[in-house]
Symmetry: C2
Subunit: 204 residues, 2 copies
């Protein structure tokens, strides 16, 4: 999130504090684990008073969906071709899934905490933001002819997102060996090419 220059100093300061808290929290959660990190640890690292935390977040848990939403904003930027993302929308979907998979928030313990937080606070659901971000890439893939035009982009995006998280959980549990990028590529290749064998009547 780029901080708008037209905000008042007070508003700018507030956004900066919110971002510092989120950055400090993510760093501490990754380093020391979610449970071992206290709100005081986070405010100390962000160099604000402990009470300040609760001006921005209801509980320690509610900072997690906020961090996820922010990471998705950053992901959106990373997917623009001007920022060096691949020209192929399907390749951008693979890149997006790879970046999500490698995000510190998707580390097993933290991801479980995040999902629990989302279940309890349904007003902020970063899952929808991820689906919408993927749907935008699907739309672009349809414009470029990479993806069939008859598919609902939101439908295909929800299918991609669901498969991705399921495979990620399987990978976390060690049930699927091999590097994570290969898992993502396999999944997207299956979804693109389909499972039909030569004995199956193609629709086209």
């Amino acid at each position: 999130m780029v901080i708008d220059k037209h905000l008042s100093r007070r508003e700018r300061k507030k956004l900066e504090t919110r971002q510092s808290l989120m950055e400090a929290a993510l760093r501490l959660f990754s380093e020391s684990g979610y449970d071992a990190t206290t709100v005081k640890d986070i405010t100390d690292a962000a160099d604000v008073a402990k009470g300040t935390f609760f001006n921005y977040f209801e509980t320690k848990e509610t900072i997690l969906p906020a961090i996820a939403a922010r990471r998705l904003e950053q992901l959106k930027e990373a997917l623009t071709v001007e920022r060096g993302a691949p020209a192929s929308p399907v390749a951008r979907i693979k890149l997006a899934l790879r970046l999500v998979a490698e995000d510190p928030l998707c580390e097993q313990q933290l991801a479980q905490r995040l999902f629990a937080a989302i279940m309890r606070h349904r007003d902020v659901n970063p899952g929808h933001a991820l689906r919408d971000l993927l749907a935008e890439q699907v739309r672009q893939g349809q414009e470029e002819g990479e993806i069939r035009g008859d598919l609902d982009p939101v439908y295909l995006a929800s299918v991609i997102r669901s498969l991705f998280f399921q495979q990620l959980v399987i990978w976390h549990h060690g049930h699927r060996p091999g590097p994570l990028p290969m898992l993502i590529d396999d999944l997207m290749d299956l979804l693109m090419e389909g499972a039909a064998g030569t004995g199956w009547p193609r629709l086209s």
Copy 2:
């Protein structure tokens, strides 16, 4: 489950009582809801003493995965061609998903209870049985040439199962209109045909 004729009368009686309890429970859960049904209601309906229930199931909750396992046994039988199932393995996968979707256990409230029970009692996981049942159909589809031979059957089965439950949840929430069989057909068609447009280089 067919009761083996070679069992002793005592063993046969035990199996019959277990099945009566599961049948009564499923009927009562469907009619009156899981929460409103007591263990006493179940034992009354199965015509046994209340304490008998606990000779077979630890708690009211643990009967749910047992019922699911039994339904999957019955599903396996319904998928044999001798019992009138379609000759095409892919058509049989669609049939299997349709039967699961229409099972009283997949009714929204009951399905949530079942998932919670599975999370707490990981020793009985009907999800694995469903995956293995689908994997067997995938293997047959590969033999008949309907499904690409280079895919791991268990992998493809886990992809099908995961997509199916995700779409079922979306359908339950009313986010996806239309009849359930159409949802299942759409999903399997996408997975068979793939999402690639004409501008995408086919692997073959």
